[in-house]
Amino acid sequence: MSAVLQAVLQFPGAHSALKPAGPQARIAEGLWNSMYATAIVVFLLVMAALLWAAFRRRRAEEPAPDPARERRMRRVVAAAVGITTIVLFTFLVSDISAGRAVTATPGKDAIQIIVTGHQWWWEVQYRDSVPQRWVTTANEIHVPVGRQVAVELRSTDVIHSFWPPNLTGKRDLIPGNENSLWFQADSAGVYRAECAEYCGHEHAKMALLVVAQSPDSFARWLTQQRDTAHTPADSLTSRGQEVFLSSACAMCHSIAGTPAGSRVGPDLTHLAGRATIAAGTLPNTRGNLAGWIVDPQRIKPGARMPPNQLDPADLRALLAYLETLR
């Protein structure tokens, strides 16, 4: 049924438990398919029995409780309960074995990522034995296809939940309790993860993209992310950097290679390389960026980004500068 509905309604599949692209999601989908099929069969059987019981043709004068018939009914009911128990037990066994497979610990060569939930955005950090090579980004995870990714989940404020349905089930980010999960993308693509635990005003607009790419391009991406931001080359962008550093921007955001180093909001060192802004809410275009900077509360009411009334020229310069942060 779901396949039919999907075909009719043309859903995109970047955020769907029914289009698995990783081992755990595939196991969950397998469970769903088998349970769904069983449920349909059982539902039809029980409803048929009910409707037959209700509407069957009756002889004019049937004796009400007839002992022999009651005994027969007892046998039928007992058999039905027995079958129910067997079906449930089968579910239980298959579920437990599936659970084992899903929670198996990741291998040693898994990529380690730390995801920290904030109201209402995701901080992402790739650690390395050399602290200078740490990479901090936001609202976007890049992973190589076919390799396990171990994610450490933390929260600095309230409970969030990390959930890329195409790849794996969700896991909560609970302050004071460290959690972790792992996943693996089997095919290249962009998968969406929505926050799945109610976390306040903008719970609806707290998404993250998982970009699965070939190992080569992932390696290139990671190297590039380790760079600090380029020094502005022309007068417009250097004016933009000045605006950034002298206005409220620098109070919350950091750009590696500049004095801006605050960790309150997302790291912007490679902002222009990301696909979205405002935690998966808007495509990262110049117009959207301008709207977000000037009046963020129209887009995400309650978000922590304050409105910025910039002089039009300054805004233009700032945008030009931000666009250089590849």
């Binding site: 302050p175 409220a248 109070m251 309150v264 009046d295 509360q297 409105p307």
Partner: protein, 192 residues
Amino acid sequence: MSSPSRSGCRRRRELLAAVLLAAALSACQREDRRFRTWPPAASAIPAVRQSELQPGPTTRDLTVRNEYGDNAWAVSEGKRLYNQFNCSGCHFQGGGGIGPPLMDSQWIYGSQPENIFATIVEGRPNGMPSFRGKLGNDQVWKLVAYVRSMSGLLAKDVASGRNDDMQVRSQEQSTEKARPVQSAVPPASQRP
């Protein structure tokens, strides 16, 4: 048409309506989450006088009313900003250290909202930096509201509860109101 008893009844009803409305408005003010509107007072930085001398006839300044002082959400936002912008780096959690304490009754540059606003925006000698241009007026007013709550200057149902942090001071909503006193320097006991 309107007999005395009926008009009396109506008056009572009006009175009731007025009381209910007042209750509603006060609750609204405490509970509002205004994401986009700014308090009127935030439209311009009030010029707070640094000197007693003034030209022409002696006039008094209009006190600026910070509506965020009646709004629990704005106060808690102020508390968040206080920690995020590292006010606690100098003032700690109100007990003072490098900067003067904020949870006592002693005020060097005045306890009125506009005084605190000026202190944050203009900065003060001996270490208080100026945040002009770094913060939106809106954020400053939230900070002002929170700073006042630290010494019990706001209503208790507006002031914040404890944070999910280490316990270093009793929560703002349990702080007894301390009558503000003008003082040139912090009292000796709290000087570092």
